[in-house]
């Protein structure tokens, strides 16, 4: 049976949501992996969850990247293991250099917490392969620093290699300015690495797992990875 690891930093607060999504909704063997661990043990996939690791001191994700467990996550990613960073987890993957670019404060300076529409543009990652092609995902964002930034060369590379995984769109699928919750360049909500096994996204699929709670669209992300491993 597949086993998932959810990394726990001091200040993580979506670790239990990710655990619940995997363990109770997807029914996968899941365990927490503390930031001080240097060995992930046997895992088939890793979630770097959201929250405020190390209080977001200095910059979001800046301190977490030097925690012992992140070296192990980097090694796992280098061997092709599927890794998803959600929200603060995405910020940590950027600071670690596992994904390119950086996060700026939201353009409007407010912490934004609401459901957004997402258009999937790359279906060849382990976290998007089971998303129906013509379906927009309705899942929540909750962040103050989600304004994705990359320089022109990096952006061009991401575009050329089809590594922009998700964009913020309106309900009709247009990547409009109004649909952009934070000012992210190109309405970018999620990207992947060159090998496509590492995905970072600001929206929270683990918070959209049950229709009773508003949306189950996040399940597509976890269905994808279950089918990929």
């Amino acid at each position: 049976m597949a086993t998932f690891g959810v990394i726990v930093f001091p200040g993580s607060n979506c670790d239990h949501d990710a655990y619940h999504a995997l363990k109770h909704i997807m029914g996968v063997d899941t365990r927490f992996i503390f930031h001080k661990e240097t060995d992930l043990g046997h895992v088939d996939g890793i979630v770097v969850p959201g929250g405020f690791s190390y209080g977001d001191y200095l910059r979001s994700g800046a301190i977490a990247r030097f925690s012992p467990v992140m070296q192990a996550v980097s090694d796992f990613a280098a061997k092709g293991g599927p890794v998803i960073g959600i929200c603060n987890g995405f910020q940590i993957l950027l600071e670690s250099g596992l994904l390119p670019g950086a996060m700026l404060h939201n353009e409007q300076l407010r912490f934004t917490c609401k459901h957004v529409w997402l258009k999937t543009e790359a279906f060849d990652t382990p976290f998007t392969s089971a998303i129906p092609k013509d379906t927009l995902l309705h899942i929540p964002v909750a962040h103050g620093e989600g304004n994705y930034y990359a320089d022109e060369d990096t952006l061009k590379q991401l575009e050329d290699q089809n590594r922009i995984v998700f964009r913020y769109v309106d309900a009709d699928g247009n990547a409009s300015r109004e649909a952009n919750p934070n000012g992210a360049i190109g309405n970018i909500a999620g990207i992947c690495n060159e090998k496509r096994n590492v995905v970072g996204m600001m929206p929270h699929p683990e918070r959209a797992m049950e229709t009773l709670l508003g949306s189950a669209d996040g399940k597509f992300v976890f269905d994808s990875v279950m089918q990929s491993i």
Partner: protein, 83 residues
Amino acid sequence: MFKAEINVTLRKSILDPKGKAAREALHQLGYNGINDVRIGKYIELFIEAPSKEEAESIARVSCEKLLANEVMEDFTISITKSN
């Protein structure tokens, strides 16, 4: 002992939302002559090192590795002797 005074600022090409909000507030206070506000971080390091050059090199590596994110930020370092 040396004191490194480090200023970390957002790259000029990057919009600074905090600076923009502060500028708008200053304009509301009537200071319309302030054309732009950029907000950064000021960091002090107190470094035990045999020479100024060595202290500067420690400060530089600290900036490159942790204190600044060069994707979006620039930094300047000024070193003085400190007791």
